[in-house]
């Protein structure tokens, strides 16, 4: 059986834990604790170690999903999780432009350690003041022509998350199409 270990990373509140919750077939291992930093203006709890979920696409193909914390102080978890990963997703909230630069920092952190198939999942596109995908690519420091695959995803929606995972899985098995 093929097992793909996928890391879901991104800034605080981009939807990493929700993403994994939406598709996992097992009770998610969740390490959310009450937030006491600026996170609490957004939501009550925040991931302090990792999320873990599983998804079986077919008898031959399963995914293990690992969600990272968002804050830099937990970057030892980023490091720990990414080193065992086969692919990763960077989630970026379209309505949080203040986090774009930080999202790019996370991306650089990962790329300094690994070279893996990845995609950027744009969340919160249904929210007020959400940026256009192309504009986000540029804000993240890419050119309009050349950027990693970008995909709009709603972490609250099982189908949307499953589609995103499938896109990434295809990338993993057709590496010729993969560009960063």
């Amino acid at each position: 059986m093929e097992l793909m270990r996928l890391v879901v990373t991104g800034p605080v509140g981009s939807g990493k834990s929700t993403f994994i919750q939406s598709v996992s077939e097992i009770d998610v291992v969740n390490t959310d604790e009450r937030a006491s930093d600026e996170t609490k203006e957004q939501k009550e709890t925040t991931t302090v170690a990792m999320d873990f979920g599983k998804l079986r696409f077919s008898p031959e193909f399963a995914m293990h999903l690992y969600g990272t914390p968002g804050q830099q102080r937990f970057d030892f978890m980023w490091d720990l999780l990414i080193r065992k990963a086969h692919a990763y997703i960077l989630l970026v909230a379209a309505n949080q432009p203040k986090q774009f630069r930080y999202a790019r920092r996370i991306l650089n952190f990962m790329n300094q350690r690994v070279t893996l198939p990845m995609l950027i999942g744009i969340t919160h596109t249904d929210c007020d003041e959400a940026w256009e995908t192309q504009d986000i690519a540029i804000a993240l420091g890419f050119s309009a022509q050349k950027h990693p695959p970008l995909k709009i995803v709603n972490p609250l929606d099982h189908t949307s998350v499953a589609e995103t995972l499938l896109t990434l899985a295809q990338q993993l098995y057709e590496p010729a199409n993969h560009q960063t």
């Binding site: 291992v29 969740n30 390490t31 604790e33 009450r34 937030a35 006491s36 930093d37 996170t39 925040t46 302090v48 170690a49 990792m50 914390p69 804050q71 102080r73 937990f74 030892f76 978890m77």
Partner: protein, 123 residues
């Protein structure tokens, strides 16, 4: 809510300097921010605090998965000493670093005592 950080620091410093073989201690929020710390010079308090929160949270989750009931403490025994994590209040966890020479029983009693003291300040 205001926390008497000065008092907390004072308690930790006294604990570390008067308890045999204790090398450091930290009081940390459940999401990994330092409240009060007294740590060996080479250790970064922000990193130690974040790691403490990660270990305790994951440890509690594993305790549940393995049907161990409420987790009293997480005990890390390394070649060069001990790291002991306990939950202090809902808003704070407590880390103690001790050398290998520490007597475990005495250390546990000392931790129990100091946690009570910290609780009364945090209440």
């Amino acid at each position: 809510m205001s926390i008497n950080v000065e008092k907390l620091n004072q308690i930790l410093q006294e604990f570390a300097s008067t308890t045999n073989e204790v090398q450091g201690a930290a009081l940390v929020t459940p999401d990994g921010l330092p409240l009060a710390t007294t740590l060996p010079a080479r250790m970064d308090e922000e990193r130690v605090s974040a790691m403490s929160a990660s270990i305790l949270s994951l440890g509690e989750r594993i305790g549940k998965e393995l049907a161990r009931g409420q987790v009293e403490r997480i005990f890390v025994e390394g070649e060069d000493g001990y790291g002991i994590l306990t939950s202090c209040t809902e808003d704070a966890l407590f880390l103690v670093l001790a050398s290998h020479q520490a007597k475990q029983g005495v250390l546990m009693l000392e931790i129990k005592r100091i946690v009570e003291e910290l609780r009364s300040v945090l209440a």
